[in-house]
Assembly symmetry: C2
Homo-oligomer: 147 residues x 2
């Protein structure tokens, strides 16, 4: 078995676990306020940015396309989303938010206060440090020199 983890690292892991738990909790709660499930909220959020084929939704959600069919069905049943033909490929169906769906997505995003709430206590300087550390943790290479 792997060598034991030092206490500091363990502590950070626990904190990340807590962040993950809190994030999910708030996300589900915000979704529920709009009578949406987490999965529906995620898809609606994706489509609010731009319409996209079912296939791509599945890739973003890391699930099977057949699963997306059902989720979009339910969103469509509520008039939040519609399927359009792709002009360049008749196999493809583009899912897109309706006007009502876009409104819901905007309100949803507004109530995702995980954004403002937990960062309130951090200064601008500290947010930059946090950003850099998270980036390195995720091994993201900044494409452009960061401000």
């Amino acid at each position: 078995m792997a060598p034991r983890i030092d206490p500091l690292t363990f502590e950070v892991i626990e904190l990340i676990g807590t962040v993950v738990a809190r994030y999910h909790e708030e996300y589900e709660h915000a979704a529920a306020q709009h009578a949406l499930t987490g999965a529906q909220a995620r898809v609606l959020g994706l489509l609010a940015r731009e319409p996209m084929p079912m296939r791509r939704i599945a890739q973003q959600l890391k699930c099977e396309p057949s699963n997306v069919t059902g989720i979009v069905d339910r969103l469509e049943g509520r008039g939040l989303v519609e399927r359009r033909p792709d002009p360049t490929d008749r196999r493809v169906k583009l899912a897109a938010t309706t006007e009502s769906g876009m409104e819901t997505a905007v309100r949803l995003r507004g109530s995702l206060d995980f954004a403002r709430e937990p960062l309130a206590g951090l200064s601008h300087q500290e947010r930059m440090v946090l950003r850099d550390l998270l980036q390195r943790m995720l091994e993201i290479t900044p494409e452009e020199p960061a401000e």
Copy 2:
């Protein structure tokens, strides 16, 4: 969405979202390696620390007790967990890992390499900074006058 959030904060939020996504991905993957679902892995992990009543499992998972019944049923069906009577209260059933369940839990914990991997690039000093920032970010319920 309204530009109420400055770009830096937005960037940090996105990063946290990425952390959450990656965490879940790795967790589900590790669970699947032991033929467990995420929920089953979480319960097994809880019980590996100490046996506890169904009620408490539900509280930890933030779900209804009736849901826990099913999850423990499946773990019990595989011989990973067993139900014991609580000597002090005959209403209560204590769920506890079997020997085999404890082994699985230990191996599972070992394969949760989200622990070691993503922090590898950070120095001891940086981990301390990250820990402090996360702690302040998570500052539990602003009962105290938020500084």
